[in-house]
Every structure is written in structure tokens, then in C-alpha cells.
């Protein structure tokens, strides 16, 4: 039996997230964002279906399929419950996502084991915004602080 705790990650009704898929054994990190009604768990299907982006990037990066990977973790970081973050218009979410990805690329050499960041993110015009920078820094800090216990 495989037991998986999903806590509240299925709730996206009034909540947007930055999320990170992590495999320490295979040294892979994938960053994304979502305002999906079904939360980060619901969003996962889009990453792992046959044409899923994570599945594809994983195979490109490692040369083998993601199917045999047995240590993937989903880390979900809730964003503020305000209109600009939960709206369909995604420039605020995209900006946080971009900065988180960029910081993880800078951070990866300092963490053990190191990892490759395989997600592709769009550059958002809002990455200079101080509030967004603060949010991204909090997420990265939380990732870094907890990395050893993942």
C-alpha cells in the first residue's frame, strides 16, 4: 500500500500556489504556479500525463522516464489570498514563479544533494516589484531551511 498525505493541496477555490516538485535521488527540481480550482494536486495531472511538461522535461534532462522515480515530493507554497494572486490574469503569480526558479538555480550549488532545475518559466514584467520579491524570497528561504529533512 502507498499512503500519500495531500493535506489541503486540493483546495484552489480561493487560493493560488507556487509549487515545487523535488526528487533528491534524481536531483531534479521543477517549479510551477497555479490558481487551479483543484489546487496543486489537481494541477499535477497536467504534469504527469503522457504529454505532461514535467514528464517531458524529466526525460530530456535525465535520459530516462520519470516512471521509476519513487521519491518525488510536492511542496506547495500558498500565495496571499488577494485578487491579484488568485485572478485568471497571472502576471503576479508568474513573477513570483520566475523569481523562485531563478533563486533556486543560484542556490542549487549550496545544497546537498545539488539538483537541476528543469522547469521553464516565463519572464514576467512584474519581477521588479518589491512585494513579489519578498514573497519569492520567503518561499526560497523556506525551501532552503527545510531541504535537509525532505
Amino acid at each position: 500500500m502507498l499512503e500519500t498525505s495531500i493535506l489541503g493541496t486540493f483546495n484552489g477555490s480561493d487560493q493560488a500556489y507556487i509549487y515545487i516538485w523535488l526528487s533528491k535521488k534524481h536531483k531534479i527540481v521543477y517549479v510551477g504556479m497555479t490558481n487551479s480550482y483543484t489546487g496543486t494536486i489537481g494541477r499535477a495531472s497536467g504534469h504527469f500525463n503522457r504529454k505532461g511538461t514535467l514528464r517531458k522535461r524529466f526525460s530530456e534532462a535525465r535520459g530516462y522516464e520519470v516512471n521509476n522515480v519513487d521519491d518525488i515530493l510536492l511542496l506547495s507554497f500558498p500565495l496571499p489570498k488577494t485578487r491579484e494572486f488568485i485572478s485568471v490574469e497571472k502576471s503576479y503569480r508568474e513573477a513570483v514563479e520566475y523569481l523562485v526558479q531563478k533563486e533556486l538555480i543560484l542556490l542549487r550549488g549550496k545544497l546537498n544533494p545539488t539538483f537541476d532545475v528543469i522547469s521553464w518559466v516565463r519572464l514576467s514584467p512584474r519581477t521588479g516589484n518589491s512585494r513579489i520579491k519578498r514573497l519569492a524570497a520567503e518561499i526560497v528561504n523556506s525551501f532552503e531551511t527545510n531541504y535537509s529533512r525532505f
Partner: protein, 588 residues
């Protein structure tokens, strides 16, 4: 007379040191291709064997062997041994040689892998020798071993060297520590080899292939296009064409020694102009790729004996690190006589100018640099004028003589008391909003803001409300932040009257302002429509008495939110089909 003391060399450490002088994979392979060119090869083939053939080409650390095969003159047994020596003799090198130190083959090969194999024949039969870095390190002695040609190698000879002469270089035991992927190496080599051997590929008819793909010659200056388009006029150039800044000129570096070099300079296109040149084309990315316009590619390309030895050099600061020089492409053609003025390193990847060469070239390029920078800036100005300012200012100007209808047919003008009450409510709301707007502006600028005091300046207010300080903007403002990230919001104050603040980063606004930047009419109409939306909201606050002001505020604001979200959603779902990507054929 001094005594000679024997200072013995640890061959292992020496070879190890040579292997770590910083070759990239593509630079190492090009150094080996040099030997093939020098050996009069007509066909040079590079094969990359993967460690795990089932892994994709995108996988890093998956190369097993690099094999470079040429059908040149080839070597007999003695010549192979000579070629494997460190500091091999230059007796065979003619004046046009690409070689300099007799170290290239060894340093380049061991920079990538631990074993170098050389199989060659000058027509008298193939011999094979190999050098192993670990074995040399263990023995502390530099040596090669004669080994048997195996089945795979025989197959290579049968396939590529049917005439019975030529050379095969095999670099194996590749160091799989941060080694680039096959895909990246091939991609880089296509560009690098195309540029490095531009003259050999285009003039001497040499064929270089990677696997089964032939490499095309690439002229980094795109001289043939400059010949068609003529000289650069930096005040008129719109960035769409390659132009001459300096046609080829001979420059004397040293009068006494009669050392001459040839210098030529072109200006390449300004890619952003290709986003707006023709409706719907948006070719800026393609143009950047075609003309190799990026940070590492501007500056001088120095060719020695027609082989590139320095890629996009800034020549010790003659060309500053500055985006305004992205389109600057210079070429300096030298021969071996000028070597002392261009000190070239073993990798042939960088050079150091002598003081005289620096002074001469620096003086010569002053005007060219200034022209290139002025032209780039001018093209940027043309591009920006088209993209942004003009349509927004035109939309504002069109409203100078425009008067909104005071009361619509069927609506009743509120009596004075109600009208004043409503106006006060609107003004109070807007006044309290100013601080929010200033806060958003400051955050967008990256400033940490807790709260904005009441003592903000008029300049701050104007910049925050309008998005920029510009007297030509009177009613329609394109700003980077609107409350709750909606597409637009009405704004009112007693000086400006009814205005609209449009969120230029909202996906729908970006569709209009960026994706359709070349469509000025669309932008003007969009700006005007947004103003009418905002104006109608303010009209309702002032004149529709049958609803309470606070109720109206909630309903109209909700309506604005829903419209903004629906438009964002439409852009997201139809991303590749909306104008300018729309095509008649698809929907015919």
C-alpha cells in the same frame, strides 16, 4: 660560463596541467579540425558516440567518444609519433599554418578525455598509436603505445577513407564531469565551425560534417548583405538592414616592419524593430538567431591566416561592454607576421594586443563605435516611438476638443444637492486612493513601502496616477499597476476630470500594446474605448439616483473585475490564435 643543471620534468603532471587549460568542447574539436585543414583535407567528419545510445541527445555527461576523420594527406608512422610529441616540430608547417605551439592536438584532446588515439596513413598503410593520460601520470613519463586497429576503426577507414590515406583522431574515456550534452555541443559547433572556418568553407570548398549534417559557412559580418544595402547613416537607419560602417581598410600597425592588417566593420540589424515592422510577423527572435545577436557575439572577429582566433573580442576594452554595441561587428584579418602584435594563447581562443596594436586599432575604431551606438539608439527610438508613445499621445490629443454627453436621453439630471453629494463621495474615494496608487508605483519600482504618508508631492502623485510625468497625457494613462490587477479603473480629480488608468501589464493590454504593437490604430481605439468605459462608470456614480452610491460602486467594480478576468482567460485560451497570429486560412 654557466653550469647547466638538469631540471627534470614530471611528464604526468605536465600533461595533466595541459589538459586543464580551459578548452570548451567545441574549441577543443575545432583545434583538431585545424590539423585536418592544414593537412589539405577536403572532407572532415565529426562523429559523437554516446555512452548510452538509448538516452536522448539532451542528456549531459553522456558522451563516450569524439571521432574526427579527415581525408587529408595523412601521416606515416614517424609522422604520427612526431605529432604525438609535446611541442611537436613545426618543420612541416608552412607560413599559412594554423598551428602555433605544437600542443593543440594533445591539449585539446586531453581537455575532453583521458585517452587519445591517432590512426593515420599517408597512403602507405594505416598505423595506430594511443596515449593514455592515466598511464602517463602513473609512469611520470610521456609515451605512446602502438596498438592494433580494431573492427570499428577498420569500418571507419572503409567508410570514410577509401583512398587509403587520411587521419582518424579518437578522444575516448571522456570525463563525464559537467560534460555538455550532445545536442548542445552540436548546436554550438554548427555556429562556431561555420564562423571559425568561414573562409575555408566558402572559398576552399572544404566540407565539414557532424554526423550526416553539413556545416554551412557563416560570415559574422554578413558582408554580402552590407554590399547590397550600402553605408550606414546612423541618423536614418531604422535597424532593419545590415550596413557598412567601414569597408575593408588596410591599417599599418608598424611602419618599420611593414605589418599590415585589414579591418572591416558592419552594423547588423536591430532585432526589436522586427516585432513591429510588418503586421503579424514578429520576427525579432528569428532575426536574433540568424544574425547571432546576443551578449557574447558583438565586437571584433580576428582571423589569422583565415582561421578565426578570437570570437567577438572587445580587444581589451576598445569595444565597451554595453548593449548599445550589440549590432557592432568588426573583423581583423592578420597573417602570421602580425603574431607579435596579437599575442595568441594556446587555445587560439583569445588574444592580447600589443601596445601599438591597441593604440592604432583604438584610434581607427573611434568613429565606427560612435556611429554604431548612435544608430542602435536611433533605431531604438524609432521602435519605441512606434510601439508606445505615439498612439497613447494621439488618443489623448484626440480628446482635446471632445465633450462627453452631460445626460443621456431618458436619464434625469440629479438636483444640485444630490449631485454635490455624489461628487464629494467620488472625490473622497479618489483622494484616499491616491496613497494606494503611490504605494503600488513604489513597489513596482522595487522600493520597500509600508505606508505612504499624506505629505506626498505633486510630482509623485502625477507620476503614480499617469504612470509617467508627461504633460501630453491628459485623460488616458497606461500604468503598471491597477487595484486588484484589473484591466482598467476610473480615475477622477478636479484638475484632470474623468480619466482612465489602464493596466498595461494585464494580459489583454499586452495583447494590444505588445503583441499588436505595430497596429497603431488598434491601440488608439483601445485607449479611447477604455476611457469611455471609465467615463461611463463615473457617469453612473454621478447621475444614476435609483441606486445607492455604495451599491453602484460594488456592482460596477464587480462587473469590471469579471470583464478583466474573462479577457485574461480568453487571451490564455486563444493565445496562439488571436491577432496578430490569426490567419485567414485557418478559419476559412
Amino acid at each position: 660560463m654557466s653550469d647547466k643543471i638538469d631540471l627534470s620534468i614530471d611528464a604526468g603532471r605536465l600533461l595533466f596541467g595541459l589538459s586543464r587549460i580551459g578548452y570548451t568542447t567545441s574549441a577543443a574539436i575545432c583545434d583538431i579540425i585545424d590539423n585536418s585543414v592544414r593537412a589539405n583535407a577536403q572532407n572532415i567528419n565529426l562523429l559523437i558516440k554516446k555512452e548510452r545510445e538509448d538516452f536522448s541527445d539532451n542528456k549531459r555527461n553522456n558522451v563516450k567518444e569524439y571521432i574526427i576523420i579527415d581525408d587529408g594527406d595523412g601521416m606515416n608512422e614517424n609522422a604520427i609519433k612526431e605529432a604525438l610529441k609535446l611541442g611537436s616540430t613545426d618543420d612541416h608547417y608552412d607560413d599559412k599554418s594554423l598551428s602555433k605551439f605544437g600542443l593543440g592536438l594533445k591539449s585539446a584532446s586531453f581537455s575532453q578525455g583521458d585517452v587519445l588515439k591517432v590512426i593515420s596513413s599517408d597512403g602507405t598503410g594505416f598505423n595506430k598509436y594511443e596515449v593514455s593520460l592515466p598511464k602517463v601520470m602513473e609512469a611520470k613519463e610521456y609515451f605512446a603505445e602502438k596498438t592494433e586497429i580494431d573492427e570499428n576503426e577498420s569500418e571507419l577507414i572503409d567508410t570514410y577513407l577509401k583512398e587509403g590515406k587520411g587521419t582518424i583522431i579518437i578522444i575516448s574515456a571522456i570525463r563525464l564531469n559537467n560534460h555538455p550534452s550532445v545536442r548542445n555541443t552540436i548546436k554550438e559547433l554548427k555556429t562556431k565551425v561555420g564562423v571559425i572556418y568561414f573562409y575555408f568553407l566558402s572559398e576552399s570548398g572544404i566540407n565539414i560534417t557532424i554526423g550526416d549534417k553539413k556545416i554551412d559557412a557563416i560570415d559574422p559580418l554578413f558582408v554580402s548583405e552590407a554590399n547590397e544595402n550600402g553605408n550606414l547613416n546612423e541618423n536614418e537607419w531604422d535597424g532593419t538592414e545590415v550596413r557598412w560602417i567601414e569597408k575593408p581598410k588596410e591599417l599599418t600597425l608598424d611602419d618599420e616592419l611593414q605589418i599590415n592588417v585589414t579591418i572591416e566593420i558592419t552594423q547588423l540589424p536591430y532585432p526589436p524593430i522586427y516585432r513591429i515592422k510588418n503586421i503579424g510577423e514578429s520576427r525579432d527572435k528569428e532575426v536574433r538567431e540568424r544574425y547571432l545577436i546576443e551578449a557574447g557575439n558583438y565586437g571584433f572577429y580576428v582571423y589569422r591566416n583565415k582561421r578565426l582566433i578570437s570570437w567577438a573580442s572587445n580587444l581589451q576594452g576598445i569595444i565597451p561592454y554595453d548593449q548599445d554595441f550589440y549590432a557592432f561587428r568588426g573583423r581583423i584579418l592578420i597573417n602570421d607576421e602580425a603574431d607579435d602584435f596579437f599575442n595568441i594563447d594556446v587555445k587560439k581562443s583569445s588574444l592580447t594586443l600589443s601596445e601599438e596594436a591597441f593604440r592604432n586599432i583604438s584610434d581607427f575604431t573611434k568613429e565606427a563605435k560612435s556611429k554604431s551606438k548612435a544608430a542602435w539608439k536611433n533605431a531604438g527610438k524609432i521602435s519605441r516611438d512606434i510601439i508606445n508613445k505615439a498612439p497613447n499621445e494621439i488618443a489623448n490629443k484626440l480628446l482635446e476638443e471632445f465633450e462627453q454627453i452631460e445626460i443621456l436621453p431618458g436619464d434625469n439630471l440629479p438636483d444640485e444637492e444630490v449631485a454635490l453629494e455624489r461628487l464629494k463621495a467620488i472625490t473622497d474615494d479618489m483622494t484616499s486612493k491616491i496613497k494606494w496608487i503611490i504605494k503600488m508605483m513604489k513597489e513596482d519600482k522595487g522600493e520597500e513601502v509600508d505606508d505612504v504618508d499624506d505629505d506626498y508631492t505633486e510630482d509623485e502623485k502625477e507620476e503614480a496616477v499617469k504612470g509617467e510625468k508627461n504633460p501630453n497625457l491628459t485623460k488616458i494613462f497606461r500604468v503598471s499597476s491597477v487595484e486588484d490587477n484589473l484591466l482598467w479603473e476610473p480615475y477622477y480629480d478636479t484638475d484632470l476630470g474623468n480619466c482612465v488608468r489602464i493596466n498595461k501589464i494585464h494580459r489583454f493590454a499586452r495583447l494590444i500594446y505588445e503583441d499588436n504593437a505595430e497596429n497603431r490604430d488598434l491601440q488608439i481605439l483601445f485607449d479611447l474605448m477604455m476611457l469611455q468605459f471609465a467615463d461611463s462608470e463615473l457617469y453612473a456614480y454621478k447621475n444614476i439616483e435609483k441606486y445607492e452610491y455604495d451599491d453602484l460602486k460594488v456592482i460596477l467594480r464587480e462587473s469590471r473585475r469579471i470583464v478583466s478576468e474573462f479577457l485574461a482567460n480568453m487571451c490564455r485560451k486563444l493565445e496562439n490564435d488571436l491577432p496578430p497570429n490569426y490567419s485567414d486560412e485557418k478559419y476559412a
